[in-house]
Amino acid sequence: MGAGHSHRLYRHGHSPVHALPPHTKLAAVLAFVIVVVSTPREAMWAFAAYAVLLGAVAYAARVPAGFLLKRLLIEVPFVAFAVLLPFVAEGERVDALGLSLSVNGLWGAWNVLAKGTLGVAASVLLAATTELRELLHGLQRLRLPPLLVQIASFMVRYGDVITDEMRRMRIARESRGFEARGIRHWGVLAKSAGALFIRSYERGERVHLAMVSRGYTGVMPVIDEVAASRAQWSYALALPCAALVVCLLGWTL
């Protein structure tokens, strides 16, 4: 979105990574994640190499480490799952720190942790260097079904409007002395949610009317022609290509 009103994951900047066309970045991240996932979990040095690659991208994008690490926290629930694995998995066991751990589970935990972290880090970097609506242009360019892109872009546009409506309804409820204190009040909340749904549905109809009035026939007109040069493609794909080399080495060594 525009200056000063970006989504929270985006970090405004003018780095070479910011300047890449969105669809090249999307393709690069997707390819990178696929390569990482298909690396054998025993090749621990390969994951370190991937981390170094991402570090290089973050450096080129001028995204500070603190910013990146803070946003990695979203991964925590998955980490909890990974930590459980060594305790519950079957098979050969080892003793460490007085605990009996499954070898298979340890490898599994490492696998989830390493691949998950790398994937999330790559996505965070993508989100930090690409604006939301640019991402949508990129998806459109990558031939994602246009209906899905339209739905996503309406979510971006109307998310705030609907949150606002929700806030007004809450204020109206509270102004009349309502406080959600327990299960007895859930009925009121459910009715509010229903009313919000109907209001949003009606807004949808009015928006559709406005779109049809301006010549909408089912496909969004192309406003921005996002084209990528060969150099930009090769720049973006340098990341997954380097990762692929590491991956192949991981399989052969």
Binding site: M1, G2, A3, H5, L132, R133, L136, S153, F154, V156, R157, Y158, D160, V161, R203, R206, V207, L209, A210, M211, V212, S213, R214, G215, Y216, T217, P221, V222, I223, D224, E225
Partner: protein
């Protein structure tokens, strides 16, 4: 010149009933000449919105015809009709559905096939005409209500319409935004049909008014005369704000 060829909008014996049987229009006739600014007045439920939705063929299937600059509204020329009739809806949040102001203003012309530099120039010109050029890359949600209303006008101007149809343009505007919008509308060189029950606003902007009541045109004449006709006003539930006397207000300034 032949008056038929210069009319922006001709509506003749238009009647319409909704599928549930409720009849909203009972034979509406009027003509708006090119460059005229006309107010369509009427109480709630008079059929104003139904009439507006006929002008660009959203609603069809009733009796009678609508012609825009000589072209009849019908299935065959719908794309051209929608380019020629620019409707500005009441809630700008419904009208502005794209993530940024620029993309929203570009939507209409892009749907009509405009591209590249030509499209960009069209967007810039439309935003300049409403004084919103510096807000081009902002998301609509972060503009004030008055600014959003002005952008909504720009989205329609970008299509270079034959006639601009405004649904309650002054609703929810503070007095300053209201005046700014009036200045903008006065400066535009297009035919305007303004649907409103803001009678002072109609008097300020539109030399001529139509009164739509119970699905027919009940009166058609100079706005000042209609508003001064107490019997007519009472008969159609039109009320002036407290203390407002249309006879004491100078005639609206000529188009300039």
């Amino acid at each position: 010149m032949d008056p038929v060829s210069t009319a922006s909008l001709e509506v003749s014996s238009l009647a319409f009933a909704y599928p549930d049987g409720h009849q909203a229009l009972f034979g509406v006739d009027f003509t708006i000449g090119r460059g005229e600014r006309v107010a369509l007045l009427g109480p709630n439920g008079a059929g104003k919105t139904t009439l507006v939705l006929h002008l660009n063929g959203i609603l069809t299937g009733g009796a009678g015809t609508v012609r825009v600059a000589g072209l009849e509204v019908g299935r065959r020329n719908m794309a051209e009709i929608r380019r020629r009739v620019g409707i500005v809806f009441q809630d700008p949040d419904d009208q502005l559905f794209m993530p940024t102001v620029r993309e929203d203003v570009a939507f209409g012309p892009a749907a009509a096939g405009l591209k590249g530099a030509e499209l960009e120039a069209r967007v810039d010109r439309a935003l300049e005409r409403v004084g919103m050029a510096e807000f081009k890359d902002r998301p609509p949600h972060h503009l004030s209500f008055g600014q959003r209303r002005r952008v909504a006008v720009a989205t329609v101007l970008a299509m270079e319409p034959e006639i601009l149809v405004l649904d309650e343009p002054s609703s929810n505007l503070d007095p300053a935004s209201r005046r700014e919008l009036a200045d903008i509308l006065r400066s535009l060189d297009v035919t305007v049909l303004m649907v409103t029950h803001d009678l002072p606003y109609a008097l300020e902007l539109c030399p001529r008014s139509l009164v739509l009541s119970d699905g027919v045109i009940a009166a058609d004449g100079p706005t000042g005369e209609l508003l001064a006709d107490d019997a007519l006003m009472r008969a159609h539930r039109l009320e002036l704000p407290y203390g407002f006397d249309p006879r004491s207000v100078p005639a609206p300034p000529a188009r300039g």
